[in-house]
């Protein structure tokens, strides 16, 4: 049962990254869209994510609940030493979620829209930034449980080049995912704009990815060894790179669905490569200690109950979620009633 729980944990993280990430990305794209086109971008985006956006963000809750029920030591350690970025992440989540709904459901459309829009786009940028910083901090080995002063314990645990680089890499990936997703949603005449955006964001992502390697060198994080030191991670990285070439080739050739699969595949491979290199460790601490998913788990009775809850829950959730995606894919939302 422990492996079922761990599988759901990684599935939750992956799906949050793909689906929630594409949502964040839509806001990031809006942030970098020329004023001339912004209204259209907004409409396309709303039609694409409106019905599913609440569900997309549930994966984070699933992952966090699995952590605090199944792996309380990991949850507690992150909560203590990454308190500050977690709070900033939360502020991003609350600001973004409410601004998205407020701007749509405000009965009067006036200058308040500008406020909602600003909050929405900036928090769409900041939330994945801090998500990436938190993820980077978890594996960077900077969390110091022996630290005796505030800065070492609560600030330098997350504020260093490596985690910041991972943060920007995450932002770029989210934007890239969203651009690819929106290509398939946009109307004919807008498609070119999203293809362009996807291309630019893809280049930005590759550059940020390179910066992550540089930062890893600077901070002494053995990233190269993680990614190329074992067969699975190595293969995943190679596949991601190859599929990137294919994606560039297909971009602009009107293969919306194939592009989505490729983009999702790349992100999955990146997460697989890094996850596999560390498994079963989830958090690396300063001084070489680590918190392992196979050593810090809750007692067996809890893991069994949690595993069953997840399995039974997914029997309800997955078909309903699939039908939700399916319904709003096949019946275009453009003519929906308010």
């Amino acid at each position: 049962m422990l492996y079922v729980v761990i599988a759901f944990l990684f599935l939750g993280i992956l799906l949050y990254f793909l689906l929630g990430g594409a949502d964040f990305g839509a806001g990031i794209i809006e942030l970098f869209t020329h004023r001339r086109n912004i209204r259209k971008t907004r409409t396309t985006m709303y039609h694409a994510i409106g019905p599913i956006w609440e569900a997309n963000h549930m994966w984070l809750i699933i992952a966090i609940v699995i952590l605090f029920v199944g792996f309380p030591k990991i949850y507690a350690t992150m909560s203590v030493y990454l308190h500050i970025p977690l709070v900033l992440l939360l502020i991003g989540i609350i600001a973004r979620g409410t601004a998205f709904v407020f701007r749509h459901y405000d009965a009067v459309v006036d200058e308040m829209q500008v406020v909602y829009n600003n909050i929405f786009v900036y928090s769409s940028f900041l939330t994945p930034l801090f998500l990436g910083i938190i993820a980077g901090s978890a594996v960077s080995g900077h969390i110091d449980v022996q630290a005796d002063n505030f800065l070492d314990a609560y600030v330098f645990s997350w504020l260093h080049w490596f985690s910041v680089a991972v943060g920007f890499f995450t932002v770029a990936l989210c934007g890239f995912l969203a651009a690819i997703y929106l290509i398939g949603e946009a109307e004919e005449q807008d498609r070119r704009r999203f293809v362009e955006k996807a291309l630019i964001l893809n280049i930005v992502a590759v550059v940020c990815g390179a910066l992550v390697f540089v930062a890893a060198q600077v901070e002494g994080v053995p990233l190269l060894e993680w990614l190329f030191g074992n067969a699975v991670s190595f293969t995943a990285i190679v596949l991601a790179t190859l599929s990137l070439a294919l994606l560039w080739f297909l971009l602009g050739r009107g293969q919306g669905k194939v592009l989505r699969v490729l983009a999702g595949f790349q992100v999955t491979m990146i997460l697989l490569a890094i996850g596999w290199a560390h498994f079963p460790d989830f958090i690396l601490l300063r001084g070489g200690d680590h918190l392992s998913l196979l050593e810090t788990q809750a007692p067996a009775a809890t893991i069994t109950a949690l595993g069953w809850a997840l399995v039974l829950g997914s029997v309800f959730i997955l078909p309903a979620l699939f039908y939700l995606f399916y319904s709003f894919q096949t019946k275009p939302i453009h003519d929906y009633e308010v």
């Binding site: 609440e54 984070l60 605090f68 029920v69 507690a76 909560s79 709904v101 009965a107 829950g313 939700l324």
Partner: protein, 444 residues
């Protein structure tokens, strides 16, 4: 502000904020479902308009409730990591089920909000019902987790170790049913009265009376039935607390000294140093009766507990008085309303009854906040009753006061924005939802 106090304040603020949105988010879908049902069976357009108007409210409240709930799942760890490290595996069961229920609610809401004219009308109606049922289930599960903090179960505490963990037993702890019942009825009462009151206000102002009268009736019936049932659930809760947490009951009642045929203390100002209550009305024997079912039985007072194990009396007692007082008032209004529906038709839409409902708009929610103050402050100094102290659970990170100020700012601005949005929704009813202005008497 020291860190423990800041952490407690931030938690109280976050919960206090979330509760309001969660209650509205879980109750409103039922109002919507009734109105939607009326539309599907009678084909009166006003019900469709009403359903849509309410569903916008639900979307706003659900989103705010969802993000504030997400924050809470993090704040539990950010503020109380030592508690969560031990408690997570024991009381995590309701949280994992709640995650499922919440997820289903989000999916169903997607279908409902965007499903007009896309699906079979009854399937569409059903998705609205699923929103309500899964919301209700979420609420009950979260309350079950809180009940475990009041009534720890499902583990053995041996030399500081938490052994033989049984998460199912922990979920079905002794307090879960009484707390879940009380909270569910409270959610229906508070939301019913708040919604009915807002529509009553519009009727009084003679704005779109047809529309608001239909809305008023649905909300008022839900609120009234729940408010009348609530005292029964309150009695179950009181007897349960007397059994399990005598210190909390003593603080609620400002019952300082253990005695037989104990008096019920109404109102008054507890003086914690002098161990007495000033300016109170006392009903002899009544506390014994309410707590244990006979007028003679001894009721344990605060004197049976060492000083360091006693909850704050002043806050707990006053919060309890507020909750009971407001609950009783809402019950009386409910009785009047049901009497009007049943026998005294001419009272309906008479100005005084509508005014009572307008007065009641905030009262249910104030009662809920007061009730949670009783539950939480009355459990102090424990975070896990009798086992772990709140002071031992708080995060080691200093400077929590700044985090508290930050969250206060966020919640304050969110509250203002939501109020503003609601105001604009209601103001736009004439242009968006009403088509047939008719005189008030033609509504029934």
């Amino acid at each position: 502000m020291d860190d423990l106090f800041a952490a407690r304040s931030q938690m109280a603020l976050s919960l206090g904020f979330h509760i309001i949105y969660a209650c509205i988010g879980m109750v409103m879908p039922f109002f919507m479902a009734v109105s939607h049902y009326r539309y599907l069976t009678t084909h009166q357009d006003v019900y469709k308009r009403l359903t849509k108007a309410w569903s916008k409210g639900v979307a706003i409240f659900f989103a705010t409730g969802a993000v504030s709930g997400t924050m809470l799942s993090f704040e539990l760890g950010l503020l109380w990591p030592r508690f969560m490290e031990h408690a997570g595996p024991i009381f995590g069961m309701p949280f994992s089920l709640e995650g499922t229920a919440f997820f289903i609610e989000a999916i169903a809401l997607g279908f409902f909000l965007y499903g007009w004219g896309r699906f079979n009308p009854w399937f569409h109606w059903f998705t609205g019902v699923v929103v309500g049922v899964s919301g209700l289930a979420s609420g009950i599960l979260v309350v079950a987790a809180n009940a475990w903090m009041n009534s720890p179960a499902g583990f053995d505490y041996v030399n500081g170790q938490y052994l033989n963990i049984d998460p199912i037993k922990a979920m079905f702890n002794d307090a879960w049913f009484s707390q879940a019942l009380h909270m569910t009825l409270a959610a229906f009462t508070a939301t019913g009265f708040a919604v009915a009151g807002l529509h009553a206000l519009m009727i009084l102002k003679k704005h779109n009376v047809v529309f608001h009268a239909k809305a008023f009736k649905i909300a008022a019936i839900f609120g009234a039935v729940a408010a009348i049932l609530q005292p029964i659930s309150g009695d179950i809760s009181a007897k349960d607390v007397a059994q399990r947490q005598p210190a909390k009951l003593a603080a609620m009642e400002a019952h300082f000294h253990t005695e037989k045929s104990a008096a019920l203390v109404l109102g008054g100002l507890p003086d914690e140093d002098a161990r007495q209550v000033n300016y109170a009305i006392k009903i002899p024997g009544m506390l014994s009766f309410l707590a244990h079912g006979n007028f003679e039985q001894e009721v344990i007072g605060l004197d049976k507990f060492p000083k360091e194990d006693q909850p704050p009396v002043l806050v707990t007692h006053i919060a309890f008085q507020i909750m009971v007082g407001l609950g009783s008032f809402l019950m009386l209004v409910s009785l009047l309303y049901l009497l009007a529906l049943w026998k005294k038709k001419k009272w309906l839409y008479s100005t005084w009854l509508l005014r009572l409902f307008v007065l009641a708009i905030p009262l249910g929610f104030i009662a809920i906040e007061a009730g949670w103050t009783v539950t939480e402050v009355g459990r102090q100094p424990w975070i896990l009753y009798g086992i772990m102290r709140t002071a031992d659970a708080v995060t080691p990170m200093p400077g929590i006061a700044y985090s508290f100020y930050l969250f206060t700012g966020i919640y304050l601005s969110l509250t203002l924005v939501v109020a503003y949005l609601l105001y604009r929704q209601i103001k736009s009813v004439p242009t968006l939802y009403d088509i047939t202005p008719e005189p008030a008497h033609a509504t029934h």
